[in-house]
């Protein structure tokens, strides 16, 4: 009887594992949100390369990158940041548990990022100077969360 219980438990755990597709806690959520961060970085990279003078300014490419960035602010991310999915639960995440405190004001920082992305969207097609000027606020908005709630690398 006891053996059967163990076997059933093991089977159930294996099943749960395969349903989740991942063994480490919150692995899918962490992967998904990191993917969104990287997608943002990719698009900001297009704008940044122009701001630095590494690639020539291209109004259409700048606009596309800024539009993409704004799109990422419209995704519902409530599933991606479950409480407890921080670095101490899974080292794949660099999120500090502070992120989930009221003090961190993630909603406010999220809104600031959305505003900075919109400002970039408005500026991107209108010339290189506008892109350069909007980069500072965009970086500051990214830093909003990274400053308070990211584990140093």
């Amino acid at each position: 009887m006891k053996r059967m219980l163990v076997a059933t438990t093991v089977a159930a755990m294996a099943l749960a594992g395969s349903v989740m597709g991942q063994d480490a806690p919150f692995a899918m959520q962490i992967k998904a949100r990191q993917g969104i961060m990287e997608y943002r970085a990719l698009n900001i990279g297009v704008l940044g390369a122009m701001a630095k003078g590494e690639t020539p300014y291209d109004a259409a490419a700048a606009q596309k990158a800024a539009d993409n960035l704004v799109m990422t602010t419209m995704i519902d991310m409530s599933m991606l940041w479950p409480e407890g999915s921080d670095h101490s639960a899974n080292p794949a995440s660099t999120a500090d548990a502070k992120l989930w405190t009221a003090e961190a004001d993630v909603a406010g920082k999220d809104a600031a990022f959305a505003a900075a992305a919109k400002a970039m969207q408005a500026a991107a097609g209108g010339g290189l100077d506008g892109v350069k000027a909007a980069m500072g606020d965009l970086g500051g908005a990214c830093g909003g969360c990274h400053k308070v709630a990211r584990i140093p690398k």
Partner: protein, 296 residues
């Protein structure tokens, strides 16, 4: 026997007197700032370059609140935990009762208005290279900031590191005001050196320290562990930092790394400060970093 006692008493007295003499706080001449007039606007540039707010603001301040220099942030070290004091213009708890001369003594000599040595957690070993005109301008700007009535907290430093007079010995051993990077520098690189070595005090975090907490000048900006924290201060000499000057300027402006991650931790605060400077200052720092001797 009595002669022996007298002998040892004399030796002890001479020893004490020598210690007292050798470790006495070395202050500026009275007329060091004679004829200098402070300018608030120029002082604001010095304020951001020096990063005063990042350490002296109340913990976790953001936006305009960073100008309220109430103190209270903690800085763990192998010697104990230091707590940044209130440097707002409050006459009781801050520096409202200070003269520009007091500020210059604090920043360039590491001596308080009462004549006590400061712990070198306050980066006077860097600020000592600052021009007096810049300090007088900074003083004018600091007095325009809001006064905050938050008492400064005592440092949590144990024996024997709490003996302030011993810092006099430390200063004699390690207080070196000479520029670290020398040789032929362009005007831009020279400006970058002034900003980096005198005001922004990059070396205070990015240079490894010896067992007594002094920066190892021959490993300037080569990085090291974060005391009491996780991770490392990165090596930012050309041996490890392979970013272009444009990459460094962008990082100091928006906080974006070359792969468009953003600055985190205390460095994000530094970027906020640097973003207040005119673009040519950030260009100067980037040019200077390229002239730092590579160190592994």
């Amino acid at each position: 026997m009595r002669r022996l006692v007298t002998f040892f008493a004399t030796v002890a007295a001479v020893g004490m007197a020598a210690f007292w003499f050798v470790t006495r706080p070395d202050t500026l001449p009275r007329d060091a700032l004679a004829g200098l007039v402070g300018d608030e606007a120029r002082g604001e540039r010095i304020f951001w370059a020096g990063g005063c707010a990042s350490c002296h603001m109340a913990p976790g301040s953001e936006g305009a609140r960073v100008l309220e220099l109430a103190g209270g942030q903690k800085f763990p070290s192998p010697f104990g935990t230091f707590i940044a004091p209130n440097i707002s213009p409050d006459p009781v708890h801050g520096i409202g009762g200070w003269s520009a001369h007091d500020l210059a003594n604090a920043m360039t000599r590491g001596v308080s208005p009462a004549g006590q040595h400061y712990f070198p957690v306050f980066p006077y070993t860097s600020f000592a290279r600052a021009r007096f005109q810049d300090i007088v301008d900074l003083y004018a700007f600091l007095l325009t900031l809001p006064a905050v009535e938050t008492p400064s907290l005592p440092h949590d430093v144990g024996f024997p590191f709490d003996i302030r007079r011993a810092i006099g010995v430390w200063k004699r051993l390690f207080f070196n005001k000479n520029w670290v990077v020398s040789g032929d520098l362009s005007p831009t690189e020279t400006r970058g050196r002034y900003l980096s070595e005198a005001l922004a005090h990059c070396g205070e975090c990015h240079t490894p320290r010896n067992i007594l907490g002094a920066m190892e000048r021959d490993r300037w900006l080569a990085g090291g562990p974060i005391p009491g924290g996780k991770g490392n201060f990165p090596n930012i000499t050309p041996a490890k930092l392979d970013w272009s000057e444009a990459d460094i300027v962008e990082y100091l402006t928006s906080g974006f790394t070359p792969d468009y991650d953003s600055a985190g931790g205390h460095m994000a605060l530094v970027v906020d400060n640097m973003a207040h400077l005119p673009p040519e200052d950030r260009t100067a720092i980037a040019a200077y970093l390229k002239k730092v001797p590579p160190a592994e």
